[in-house]
């Protein structure tokens, strides 16, 4: 039994002395006038940090870990500013009743936004501690520093511990946005590969996962989804499950679920319950989706980039090339199906969820269910990785519907077919690329046109409430889909035009590095095609259009790592026995504003079978200041492997009725025998603000892979996934 329910604001912050840093205290005390016996402030959800009288520190944040390691990195950032040992920090994440709302976790914002806020709160606390100690030690605050939890004169001499300074007293302060931050050149905690404290728990079966969370009197729920998207529930035969003990069927319009004391009873009841559904054939089918996208109704054309005159420059170019790239619908495909526990009772509604945005989920649930937001509490717990918005928000609504119906706490975990079938998907993307080069091989025109499924903006409809006939918006936000379709190189004439389609066959959401992976697949694949047309080495061709030293640094680093020999593609000496070998390269500036990533790969292709083996991947990565190099490396490696999986295997398939790729057999992901050797070089830039690193290294993967396959075989692959069958056909 977990004790999460016993964590309350009172428990954390009201016991004993503390120095508390928030950002909206009603009675703000200027730091020069710290009242020693100030009445306890009326705590609202606004405190980032509390330093307790025993010298330990609690960080409170709306940013959540979801397996990325940021819970460690955030503590490092705070420990660095405060001079209090890392081990004394605990972190409370994503509890709408306890933590401040400084944004959800997504778009790699955990470090640049989350850590920056916490760092400022810690710097404010540090200044307050120095001011307090200044009186006690009879020194100017500017002559003091904090080391190992002790405030001491910088010049040496006796100090006083943070714990003693706080004693039994209470201080509350507002974050000072101008609080002096430590100079990165003096860092001793940030930049260190501190081990993640969740890993020992995860490796011994003792991490408190959402999927393991239980409450007294909790029942197990399962959902029974329609046989087709849009189908209506016609009949339910409850006698079909009369042999299963203690099951209740919950039917609300087209929402069908079961609730049981015993989880296995719920699983079997959901599987065996006989229900009939109306016929519904609303989908175009995943075969031929490329032409569907090209001809579907456009809601709005969006000029993403328009520089110079790409059309005229293309017409006048010495050499013109064009190509079409396609990326299919893909699933988050979380290893553990989404789960939630809902407890609806007279005092309010509590949802335990792994949502990457607990506050956003609370707002949406309150709106959809017509409950005042202050009566809804969402508490984050670790779960299977989500990589964007998987089924987590939907299953939270399912649990809420069921708990409302039975007035007991209900835990719902989706089954595998629910997750693969009903998670909101990363959209398919179609890109037409046109480019012109001059007689010297310079890119003079770049014209990219993309088609992206869409719909109205706003909150995504939740599956359960939709089926239950509840009113809600039907937004189709999938994240920033249009970035990185322009080249990161100096080109005078660039146009990127996005056709945002009126509709989407499948519900959309943000899937890791939204849009960027497909756009870079097209942009960097197409850049390679231009280099081939110019008969130039792929790296030299790109290097000419770059002057930013950070860009050149990652490129030079990766070419050294892989031992890049300049020559045009394809590889003139590709044949090695029955294999064709080659190498590929890709470079990106993530969102044209964040990470610099260069990647090179070596592949071997078996012509007879279409089997592609990636032998080596080298990646050089610059995301500014590095907070935790091992955590960062883990993220970068994960991005590479996951995107190799998306490139080799993944495509959501559907017929006219529903999604058909509903298990790991029909939606396979990369397995161990396919995993290449991966070398990652991290370039630390302590003088540059950190950007996030949960997405960028995935973006160049598909392009580098396709470029390597071309180098080996002379065949250009412009649609993922590069399954064995497809490669074999392409090579035939």
């Amino acid at each position: 039994m977990h004790n999460v329910t016993s964590i309350s604001r009172r428990g954390i912050l009201k016991a004993g002395g503390a120095l508390i840093i928030g950002f909206t205290f009603s009675s703000v005390l200027p730091k020069q006038a710290l009242a020693q016996n100030a009445p306890p402030p009326q705590f609202d959800v606004d405190s980032f940090l509390a330093i307790h009288e025993d010298g330990t520190v609690t960080i409170l944040t709306s940013h959540v870990d979801v397996g990325t390691g940021i819970s460690t990195a955030l503590r490092q950032a705070a420990a660095e500013e405060l001079g209090i040992p890392f081990e004394r920090f605990t972190l409370i994440e994503g509890d709408t009743a306890t933590t401040p709302d400084h944004g959800g976790t997504g778009g790699s914002s955990g470090i640049p936004r989350g850590a920056a806020d916490i760092r400022r709160a810690a710097a404010t606390a540090r200044q307050a501690l120095l001011d307090l100690a200044s009186k006690q030690l009879d020194r100017l605050a500017s002559q003091l520093t904090i080391v190992a939890g002790q405030v001491r004169p910088t010049a040496g001499g006796p100090g006083i511990s943070v714990a003693a300074l706080i004693g039994g007293k209470r201080f509350s302060m507002k974050v000072d946005p101008n609080a002096a931050l430590r100079d990165p050149s003096t860092y001793t905690v940030v930049g260190k590969p501190i081990l993640r404290s969740d890993v020992p728990l995860k490796c011994t079966g003792r991490n408190a996962y959402l999927q393991d969370f239980t409450l007294p009197g909790m029942l197990h729920g399962r959902v029974v989804r329609p046989s087709a998207i849009g189908a209506r529930l016609l009949t339910v035969d409850e006698s079909s499950i009369s042999n299963i003990p203690d099951v209740r069927v919950v039917r609300i319009e087209n929402f069908l679920g079961v609730v049981a004391k015993d989880e296995w009873a719920a699983v079997r009841a959901a599987r065996e319950l006989k229900a009939t559904w109306s016929d519904s054939q609303t989908l175009p089918g995943s075969g031929g989706l490329e032409s569907y996208l090209r001809t579907a109704s456009v809601d709005r054309d969006q000029m993403v980039v328009n520089k110079g005159d790409a059309t005229a420059a293309y017409s006048g170019a010495a050499k013109r090339i064009s190509a079409t790239y396609y990326w299919p619908f893909q699933s988050h495909a979380s290893l553990g199906p989404s789960c939630a526990v809902a407890d609806v009772n007279d005092s309010g509604t509590t949802i335990w969820s792994a949502s990457q945005n607990p506050f956003g989920l609370r707002t949406n649930l309150a709106k959809v269910f017509g409950i005042p937001a202050e009566k809804v509490r969402v508490i984050y717990l670790d779960a299977s990785g989500s990589y964007g918005t998987n089924g987590t928000d939907d299953v939270s609504a399912d649990a809420l519907i069921l708990s409302q119906a039975v007035r007991q706490p209900v835990r719902v975990q989706w089954m595998r077919h629910d997750e693969h079938g009903w998670d909101p998907k990363g959209p398919a993307q179609l890109l037409d690329m046109r480019g012109g080069i001059d007689a010297s091989g310079n890119i003079v025109a770049w014209d990219a046109e993309m088609w992206v499924p869409g719909g109205p903006p706003g909150d995504r409809a939740l599956v359960g409430p939709d089926l239950a006939g509840m009113m809600q918006g039907h937004g189709q936000n999938a994240g920033a889909m249009t970035q990185n379709a322009d080249p990161p190189y100096a080109v005078a004439n660039i146009r990127v035009l996005s056709h945002n389609l009126k509709e989407t066959p499948l519900r959309l959401s943000n899937l890791r590095a939204p849009g960027k992976i497909a756009n870079v697949f097209a942009a960097e694949g197409f850049t390679d095609e231009m280099a081939v047309a110019a008969k130039m080495d792929a790296v030299a061709f790109r290097r000419r259009g770059l002057t930013d030293p950070r860009a050149l640094a990652v490129i030079d680093r990766v070419t050294q790592m892989i031992g890049w020999q300049p020559r045009p593609s394809p590889n003139p000496a590709a044949a090695q026995g029955n294999l064709l070998t080659g190498r590929g390269f890709a470079y990106i500036r993530y969102k044209q504003a964040e990470n610099y990533v260069a990647m090179a790969m070596e592949v071997a292709v078996e012509r007879a079978t279409g089997k592609v083996t990636v032998r080596r991947v080298a990646c050089a990565h610059d995301c500014g200041l590095i907070v935790n190099p091992d955590g960062l490396r883990n993220q970068v490696e994960g991005c590479i492997v996951q995107t190799l999986s998306r490139s080799f295997h993944e495509e959501v398939t559907f017929d006219h009725a529903t999604v058909t790729s509903v298990d790991w057999g029909r939606y396979p992901i990369l397995t161990f025998p396919e995993v290449p050797a991966i070398e990652v070089a991290l370039i630390d830039r302590p003088d540059q603000s950190p950007v996030g690193a949960g997405e960028a290294a995935g973006a160049p993967v598909a392009a580098a892979l396709a470029n390597a396959i071309f180098d080996a075989t002379g065949v250009r692959l412009r649609s993922v996934p590069f399954t064995r069958a497809r490669v074999k056909t392409a090579l035939a």
Binding site: G67, T204, W264, G336, Q642, F672
Partner: protein
């Protein structure tokens, strides 16, 4: 309700199950409070639910509780603790071979069965043996390094 007696992590347990075909996974998690084995697919495709049955790695989502009767089950909790981890667990911790950690149970239990059988596997043997264990975060190279590290100890 029929009762099933078996050993779990060196202790003896008797559990009731209304259905003799109830997968061992649910019995471990809900009757015995052993949460390390995870539900991933219920189809034997992902390996998140792996436990050892008489020392052999099995998918507990595909193992009816009646099959466990009279036998010995080892779960990840039974190998070691955060304070006293088993050498394979220690190797995973040293390599920081987890992100979300949902697959970790299956990785370590499969590695345990492999190393018990083949104490010094080649890199290709490790890859082949873990081929049925899926990881979505992409922690594969660290997991391979962890198993290789444990094999050297």
């Amino acid at each position: 309700m029929p009762a099933y007696k078996f050993r779990v992590n060196d202790g003896s347990v008797t559990v009731d199950s209304w259905d003799p075909d109830q997968p061992l996974l649910y019995v471990l998690r809900n009757s015995l409070g052993l949460h390390a084995a995870k539900f991933g697919c219920g189809l034997g495709q992902c390996g998140a639910c792996t436990v050892l049955l008489d020392g052999k790695a099995v998918r507990s989502c595909q193992t009816p509780v009646k099959q466990a009767a009279g036998r010995s089950v080892t779960t990840l909790e039974g190998l070691g603790t955060p304070e006293k981890p088993h050498p394979i667990q220690a190797a995973f911790i040293a390599e920081q071979a987890a992100q979300c950690g949902y697959c970790t149970n299956g990785m370590i239990m499969s590695a345990k069965a492999l190393l018990d059988r083949t104490p010094h596997p080649t890199a290709d043997q490790i890859k082949a043996d873990l081929a049925g264990n899926l990881c979505r975060c992409g922690t594969h190279t660290r997991i391979l390094n962890a198993v290789a590290r444990a094999a050297k100890v």
